[in-house]
């Protein structure tokens, strides 16, 4: 257990080091943006936001004539609004279904791999769960922390809204499509989930591995802690791709933006934000 804690703090330290040492993007990756102007609308998955923001910041700093707006709303919204042409780039934390792809003529760009991990309040003494226990908790069969070796308090379930890609992946791979109790509290973004769990000593929730920090404690699932290494090696199995999508082949700024995310600089941003780059 102590080793795991060390590993976690090591990762945190590495992250901090990476963040502080990052000296911005390579000029060559930002070169295509010179001379461009206009605006780009991005919305959808909330796990994507940190990467999108950093990428946008670097692009705008190199060329102030470009405006980029970034919104959340969930993967469902990202797919829908991109498909309807309301936004230029939609973000999704799940693969769009074949039906959605053919209906809207979507082009998918996978730019990171991310895990979805179960998190609790740092004061919680429970450190790990089995898949079966997790399913029992979310269906409402296990409703007290005492049954898991914790305090004699009711388990406060948190889940995401139905448009969430994080929920979709968690439900499919974490709960093996088991039911989520109707009594669960529903929050609307990865950030809101982290805030809720960090403030509630008896909470259980799930967030993107890239969003994890000291304010919440990840639980090992079947003995495997969700972190970059275990997600990368495939040992932690509740993982997914992070996608951006456009209606038809992307053009103009949207294409440049997606190229940038997949460039070495963009992939560095991905890594700095706690996700696993695809290139």
């Amino acid at each position: 257990m102590k080793n795991r804690f060390h590993l976690f703090s090591l990762i945190c330290a590495t992250l901090v080091l990476l963040l502080s040492s990052s000296s911005g993007a390579l000029a060559s990756d930002l070169a295509p943006f010179t001379g461009q102007q206009g605006s780009l609308r991005i919305a959808g998955g909330t796990a994507h936001i940190s990467v999108m923001k950093e990428a946008a910041k670097q692009i705008i700093q190199s060329n102030p004539k470009i405006q980029i707006s970034i919104a959340g709303g969930g993967s469902g919204l990202g797919i829908k609004q991109a498909g309807e042409g309301l936004i230029d780039i939609g973000n999704s934390g799940r693969k769009a279904t074949d039906e959605e792809i053919s209906k809207y003529d979507l082009k998918l760009f996978k730019w990171a791999i991310d895990g979805v991990g179960v998190v609790v309040h740092p004061e919680n003494s429970v450190k790990g769960l089995s898949s079966v226990q997790l399913q029992d908790i979310y269906v409402g069969k296990i409703s007290n922390w005492q049954e898991l070796g914790g305090a004699d308090r009711q388990i406060n379930l948190y889940t995401r809204d139905e448009a969430s890609g994080t929920r979709e992946v968690f439900w499919k791979k974490g709960l093996n499509k088991g039911d989520i109790s109707a009594k669960a509290n529903v929050v609307v973004s990865n950030g809101a989930m982290k805030t809720a769990v960090a403030g509630d000593p008896f909470a259980i929730g799930y967030i993107s591995v890239g969003h994890m920090d000291q304010s919440v404690t990840p639980l090992a699932l079947d003995g495997v802690l969700p972190n970059l290494d275990t997600v990368r090696s495939g040992e932690y199995r509740v993982s997914r791709g992070l996608y951006s999508l456009s209606k038809g082949e992307p053009s103009g700024l949207a294409k440049l933006f997606l190229d940038f995310i997949l460039s070495p600089s963009g992939q560095q941003i991905v890594a700095e934000n706690g996700f696993i780059p695809v290139r």
């Binding site: 109707a182 009594k183 529903v186």
Partner: protein, 285 residues
């Protein structure tokens, strides 16, 4: 009715007709989009069952109950407070304090609901969690006082306005007869001003029913039917906000038009009923 005869009057008339038509258009829009569901005779299913899209159930009964409970509870908290506050502002406090209080109340109307919710998320939610001793602290009981705070200024301003409309001759007569401010309030001002009070309550109820952010952030949004006020619940408005992001063709998305229609009809009926009762009663006097 006088026929409008100047250009300005035409402009005003157009504005009035447009806003009236818009209200009707919103209703028609909701009706048309929820028609497929209503025609299939699924209305009772929708109204009386619970929300479980995985099992093909798109009922909104828990949300409907949560909305009504939240609105009523916040009204119960807010009404005595607002009434007391408006007494102080219009009759009991010294003139300078009255102006100060009234300007504070006016300021309160401008505070966005997300600010209230955000503050409550960090102050009230942990407090409620400790007090209740179970649950996440997000519940109807958490959201209701914040909603009460939201609707209070609307009600206070209406109450104060209607107290001000009490004829000066009546209040002067009380003073002349040697009545004290409390007697003036109880026997003259309230009986004179009560249609205004009812209007204020109506508007407050409408705001409580229609507010999204507070219940979305504080009530917990669980889809199960609640059986105690300390439980997490989801209001109709929060439900619409949460389901909005679905695919346009999905049943989930279609069902939220029914939610919208219900919200519309509920508030409309309520307004009409109380308007009519005020008209009837004030006509009798």
């Amino acid at each position: 009715m006088d026929r409008p005869h100047s250009f300005t009057e035409y402009i005003f008339l157009t504005a009035a007709v447009c806003s009236g038509l818009l209200t009707a258009a919103v209703f028609l829009f909701l009706l048309i989009f929820s028609l497929p569901l209503l025609q299939n005779g699924e209305l009772t299913d929708l109204l009386l069952s619970s929300w479980a899209p995985d099992k093909g159930m798109y009922g909104i009964y828990p949300m409907l109950m949560a909305s009504l409970t939240l609105a009523c509870l916040s009204l119960v908290i807010s009404f005595p407070l607002s009434l007391g506050c408006s007494f102080v502002i219009s009759a009991l406090a010294p003139a300078r304090l009255r102006r100060f209080l009234l300007s504070m109340v006016r300021l309160m109307t401008g505070i966005p609901t997300v600010v209230y919710s955000f503050a409550a998320l960090f102050l009230l939610v942990p407090f409620m969690r400790n007090i209740l001793g179970h649950g996440s602290g997000m519940s109807i009981l958490t959201a209701a006082p914040v909603l009460a705070l939201l609707i209070a200024p609307t009600m206070i301003i209406f109450f104060v306005g209607s107290f001000e409309k009490v004829p000066l001759s009546a209040t002067l007569a009380v003073d002349a007869l040697g009545g004290n401010p409390i007697q003036k309030l109880l026997y003259v001002m309230i009986p004179q001003a009560w249609p205004g009070i009812i209007n204020g309550v109506l508007l407050g109820f409408g705001r409580a029913m229609g507010d999204t952010m507070i219940s979305l952030m504080l009530a917990g949004n669980s889809v199960s039917a609640f059986n105690s006020l300390s439980q997490s619940a989801r209001s109709l408005t929060a439900h619409i906000a949460l389901v909005m992001a679905f695919d346009f063709d999905s049943m989930e998305f279609k069902s939220i038009f029914v939610c919208g229609l219900l919200l519309y009809i509920f508030t409309a009926i309520l307004m009409l009923l109380l308007r009519m009762s005020t008209l009837c009663l004030s006509g009798k006097r």
